[in-house]
Structures are given as C-alpha cells and as structure tokens.
C-alpha cells in the first residue's frame, strides 16, 4: 500500500472510532471550557484585560486540552493491544504516523473552533476582518501542535510511568508554535492591516520540520 493509502486508512479508522465513542471530545471540550472559566477567574471580570489576553487564552486552553487529546489518541490502541497490530503491519511506520496525526489534527481543529466560540462569547473577542488568514493561522497552528503531539503521545502510553515526562517535553517543544499562533491571532483579531506573514511563515516552517522528522523517526518509537 502506498503511504497516502495507509495514512488514509489509519486516519479514517481513528475518526470512526471517535465518531462512534465520542470518548475524546467528551473529555477535552469540557476541559477546555473549564480552563477558560478559570482564566476568567484569574484575570478578573474587567473586560479590557480579558479582551487583550483572549488570543493567548484561546491557544493555551487548546494546547492543554491537546495534550490530553494526543494521549487519548493512543489510549484506545494500547488498551486493546492494538499497538501490536500496528507494529506488525507490513506498512511504512511513517504512514501510520501521518494517519494518526491527520485524525488528531481534525479533532484538534474541531476543539479549537469550539474553544474559539467560547472565547468570543465569554471574552468578547472580535474575529477581525480577515477570516481567511485567521483560518490559515488555525490550520498551521493545529498542524504544528499535532505533528509533535502525535509523536509524543505515543511515549505517553507505551509504559507505566512515562506520562509524567510527556507534558514536560510537549510544552517547551511546542512553545514556538504556540507563540507564533498567539501573536498571529492577536494581530488578526485586533483589526487594521498588521503584517502576519512572518508568524505564518514561522508556523509553516515548524510544521514542515516536525512533520518530516516525525515521519522519519516514528518507526523507532513504535518499534518497541
């Protein structure tokens, strides 16, 4: 089977599991909502401060929920010993990675959209006049988070104690993606004609680097 075919099969399988069980979304969406409320408590009811910090809060809520999402993406696999099957399948391991990442990216995109609606409602964040660029920021950001998250999520389920080390690694490794995504979102929602090309370029570069390296090294992590 070709890489694209394997990736498609794995990705569609993951999404079908999620559509039928809704186990991931039913956890991470309330989690993100709780976090937004908590941010609201921390920053007080003053409207100006909440509005200024809203783009950052949006991405932070998405990031923390995403850590859980990446973990859950592999939880079902490891519980049913399905990882053995993936390991033994005579296909390119990198293609499995791409499939898992694509499915996680779709779920994360849904999560991010729901979180955005909540941020708009709770903090009064305007979506700006350039929705296409905002959507591009979301897509590039989601791909960046997923490219690494799908690799590290595997580390979280392959053993007993390893989960503790994964958030320690996820946050610094992903922080450049988060910084760029927050800044671009901030500039785009502020209105006016701010240049976001540099930030989007940075996001795109990260996506390319981490997707490629994830594709190459995934087999070594799964090989256990």
């Amino acid at each position: 089977m070709t890489v694209a075919r394997v990736a498609w099969t794995v990705g569609v399988k993951d999404l079908r599991v999620e559509l039928r069980s809704r186990s991931t979304m039913s956890t991470v969406v309330p989690f993100a909502a709780t976090m937004l409320i908590a941010f609201g408590f921390a920053l007080g009811p003053g409207r100006t401060l909440l509005l200024q910090t809203a783009p950052g809060l949006l991405w932070l809520a998405a990031l923390f929920a995403a850590v859980e999402l990446f973990h859950r993406a592999y939880l079902a696999e490891s519980e049913g010993d399905a990882l053995e099957g993936l390991l033994l399948a005579p296909v390119d391991k990198g293609a499995i990675y791409l499939g898992k990442a694509a499915a996680a990216a779709v779920q994360l995109m849904v999560l991010l959209c729901i979180t955005t609606v909540m941020v708009v409602a709770l903090f009064g964040l305007p979506l700006g006049e350039r929705p296409a660029l905002l959507l591009l920021t979301f897509v590039l950001g989601v791909v960046g988070l997923t490219a690494l998250g799908s690799l590290l999520g595997l580390l979280a389920v392959l053993g007993r104690t390893r989960r503790a080390a994964v958030p320690v690694l996820v946050l610094p490794l992903l922080s450049p993606v988060v910084i760029a995504a927050i800044r671009a979102t901030d500039l785009l929602t502020r209105g006016g004609n701010h240049d976001v090309g540099g930030w989007l370029g940075l996001l795109a570069a990260f996506d390319a680097i981490f997707l490629a390296s994830g594709f190459l090294v995934y087999g070594h992590v799964l090989e256990d």
Binding site: L148, L151, L155, L158, G159, R160, T161, R162, A164, A165, V168, L169, L171, P172, L173, S175, P176, I179, G198, L202, A205, F206, I209, F210, S213, G214, V217, H220, V221, E223, D224
Partner: protein, 258 residues
C-alpha cells in the same frame, strides 16, 4: 566507527584525561587574566562588557553540545550502538549546564546594560525554551525503564529538540530585537577590537577544553554505570527474569544490527 572507537579509547585513558584537565585549567586561568586585567574595558559599557568573555563561549558551547546530542542521536538510531547513547546523554548534561550558565550570565549582563534582568527578546526566549527541552530530555531518560527504550526515545527527542536550534539563529533575522546583532559569526569583518576578539577566541578554546574534559569523564562514568547495571542484571533477580528486561539487556549488550 572503528576510528571513533580508537579515539574514544585513546582519550579515555587516565593520562589523557589528566592532561585534558590541566589544559582546561591553564587555558581558563589565562582567559581570566586576559579578560579581567589585560583587555581594556568597553568604550560604552565599561567593565560590565567583560561578561562577554564567558557569556558568548557558554552560548556557543551550549549549541555545540546540543549539536553533539543531535549527531549522536542520529548515529544511535542508525546503528543501535549504546556508546552513541552514552555520548548523547553526556553532551546533553553538559549542554544543559552551559545553557543555564548562558542565561544566568546574560541576565547579569542585561540588568546594567538594558536595565532589566529579562526581556522577552526572541533569542533569550528561544534559549530558555532550548534549556527546557533538554531538561525534558533528561527527565524522559529518568523515567524510562529499559536501557534500549531509554536510548531510543531520548534519541528521538535529541533529534527533534535540536531542530529548534535553527530557529534561535534565524530569530535574530526574523524579528527586530533588543539583543545586539551577532558580532563575530557574520559576513564581513567582525565589529570588535583585536585584543577583545583574541580574548574571546581564547575563552572559546578554554570552554571547549572544559567541554572535552567533562565529556571524557562523563563517558567513563557512563561506561561504569552500564557495566554496573550489566553485572546486576546478569545475575538473575526476580525482576530481571521478566522477558522484557532480559531481552532489553541482551539487545543493549550486543549491537542490534550486527
């Protein structure tokens, strides 16, 4: 591989280590004398600028250490030989030290010159992120249960983590920032007085020797650790008899792709 083995054996001897240690001490001493007494203070910043002679070499060495982790990680994944993993972890530990040193010294320098301990300048921020990545790298190593898994996973992080380094360098170009532009490693003549440049290069040499010395000592500790773990595990204990552990040890001791 054979050549690198021979080099490792040669620098691993006690005499070589002692010589390296003395060379490190001597070059550091000369750097101290040059940096504090011989070279004139900076025209605008005064004596504070002397921090450059430790700040800049520490930063270069931190990047070099993480570069070594990157190369050793790739070599480990390709060959499966455990000595590459020992090189990677030794370099990562030293790199974390140098990286932390860079941030602390930069902070001390920034307070009198920029008027602040810390600024969210891209290069500072990315250096802090780099430090966190390799602290995470070391954390991941501590929680892994089999030597093979530990080596393989930390190799993956060693590769992915190092891919952040280009962002550090490019960030200077991408964003306008408070940080002064690179003065030595850039096209055209360095914008620095000759004696200052000489002292800086001497400091880099001293720090590199310190790095080499620490590496050699750490590699010996790594070999001793593995040997100790090997002795413990080769005499079967209830835990060592579980298949996963036994196979992990066998895989570690012979090379995977013989």
């Amino acid at each position: 591989m054979k050549l690198s083995n021979r080099v490792l054996t040669r620098v691993g001897t006690r005499g070589a280590q002692r010589a390296l240690g003395w060379a490190t001490l001597a070059s550091l001493a000369v750097t101290v004398v040059m940096g504090l007494l011989v070279v004139p203070p900076d025209a605008t910043q005064g004596d504070v600028q002397r921090l450059m002679y430790v700040h800049v070499p520490a930063a270069w060495l931190a990047f070099m250490s993480f570069g070594t982790v990157f190369v050793a990680s790739i070599a480990y994944l390709r060959t499966g030989r455990i000595q590459w993993d020992r090189i990677a972890v030794a370099s990562a530990e030293i790199g974390v030290q140098f990286c932390a040193l860079t941030l602390v010294l930069g902070s001390l320098w920034g307070q009198p010159v920029w008027g602040t301990w810390w600024t969210w300048d891209p290069r500072l921020t990315t250096t802090a992120v780099l430090l966190l990545i390799y602290v995470g790298y070391l954390a991941l190593r501590r929680v892994a249960d089999s030597p093979t898994r530990r080596a393989r996973w930390s190799a993956v992080i060693g590769i992915v983590g190092f891919l952040d380094v280009p962002i550090v360098h490019m960030s200077v170009v991408w964003w306008r920032s408070l940080h002064q532009e690179a003065t030595v490693l850039r096209p055209g003549a360095p914008t620095i007085a000759g004696s200052m440049l000489a002292t800086l290069l001497l400091a880099v040499l001293a720090f590199s020797l310190a790095y080499a010395y620490l590496m050699v000592v750490r590699l010996r500790v790594g070999r001793a650790e593995d040997r100790a773990a090997g002795t413990v595990l080769s005499t079967p204990t209830p835990r060592a008899q579980t298949p996963a552990r036994v196979s992990a040890v066998t895989v570690t001791r012979s090379s995977r792709h013989a």
